[in-house]
Amino acid sequence: MNDPSHHHSLDELLEVLHQPAQPHELSQQSVVVDRMVAELPAAAPQGATAMKTFRLTRRAAILAAVAVASFSGVAAAATGVVSLPVGARTADVGPTSSTTSTTEAPTTTTEVSGSSASSTTVVTTASPSGVTTVATSTTLDSLTPTTVAGQAPAVVCEDGNHGATVSKVAHDTPPGPGHGAAVAAAAHSDCGKTGEDTEGDDDAADVDEADDSTHDSSVTTAPKTTTTTVAPSHGNESEGKGKNAGKGGNHGSSHNEGESGD
């Protein structure tokens, strides 16, 4: 059946393929088994090492990813603080601070309101806008300077008299569409009232450190506060604070700084 020229059957072929191992098929046993024995002990440790290395690498990768993620978050926050104006920094530090800062904006405005209609507008805008977006804050910034220009000296809340503050706003604000709003803002403000927020006054020093002029005029503070783009974080609070627009610049600002300091 080994003669290729002879016609074999399939059965014969299968028989041949199933025949026991031939001597020449087992001739290399010692060589191969020797090499297998040599490979086998080496294989186990290598495999184990490889697996350990893999696991360690994977853990390191995970840790690195977590670290990068957390650091990037911090970096992002830091970036936000840095990019904002000095006064705004306080607000960015924390949500709580943000709220306070929002309050400041209206306060300053109120002071100003006595001098011009535009300031009144500012007040109105301040509350809701702060809540909404950064763009709004930009608006505030642009408005603030205008308001500030004429009103810096008009700060009423210096003596801490709420009634006097409201009265002054009522008298100083020319009759018109913004008059009622300005007075209302002043009336709703905490200016001159003694309350939990008082401690903020002490913290005003922080602001002063950032900007010396702040203490003298609420105006200075106002821009910072206004910058408060921060407002978005505390929409509700900012709205509520917005009603406090009548507060004195320092008073409001002190709130911001104090909370931010925390």
């Binding site: 080994n2 399939l10 041949v16 020449h24 098929e25 046993q29 088994v33 090499r35 024995v37 490979e39």
Partner: protein, 189 residues
């Protein structure tokens, strides 16, 4: 010790690095492995088989199967080695080198075996794979399907067609082979 238990004990001993157990494993499977490799165009079947056994030694500590699963695992390694081998000649041809000449049908010892594997080599590759793993390696359809990465039904069809084709090759007068079902062939279930 019963056959199955003995096989398992031998495998465990080989896994632990026992030289005698490794030798037993080699003796039990090397002949089938060589025939399979020769039937599938391995340029140098002895060298490829040696590489397969070294792969087995390296992978044995991690091999979690029992004695029944050892042979499918061995031929899985062999098949992958073959695939690597087939790629090399192609590279040789691309470089202008000739692929190794096929063995003559009747040269060397055991020329009956050479004739048999040479006949399998004449099959189209897809059919030769299925037939060699079924007939030479004695694996079942599901094991072959897993090795080749094809559905079991496809394996059955290829084995059937391969055996029909072999019959045609062995007896050219039986060109119309469709009459006889493959399942009646000896050694093929």
């Amino acid at each position: 010790m019963s056959g199955a238990a003995g096989e398992q004990a031998r495998l465990d001993a080989a896994r632990a690095g026992d030289r005698e157990a490794l030798g037993d494993l080699w003796r039990s499977h090397n002949a089938q492995l060589l025939r399979y490799l020769r039937g599938r165009h391995a340029g140098n079947a002895d060298d490829v088989a040696q590489q397969v056994w070294l792969d087995v030694a390296r992978g044995l500590p991690r091999f979690a199967g029992d004695a029944d699963q050892f042979r499918p695992w061995l031929f899985t390694i062999a098949y992958r080695r073959l695939v690597d081998e087939w790629r090399q000649p192609r590279r040789h041809r691309e470089l202008g080198m000739e692929s190794p000449p096929e063995r003559a049908i009747d040269d060397g010892p055991g020329d009956g075996l050479e004739w048999a594997v040479a006949t399998i080599r004449r099959l189209p590759p897809a059919l030769a794979d299925a037939v060699a793993l079924r007939v030479v390696a004695d694996l079942d359809v599901s094991e072959i399907a897993e090795i080749l990465g094809i559905p079991p039904g496809t394996v059955r069809v290829r084995v059937h067609r391969g055996l029909v084709r072999l019959r045609e090759l062995l007896d050219p007068t039986q060109m119309d082979v469709t009459a006889e079902p493959v399942s009646t062939m000896k050694g093929v279930s």
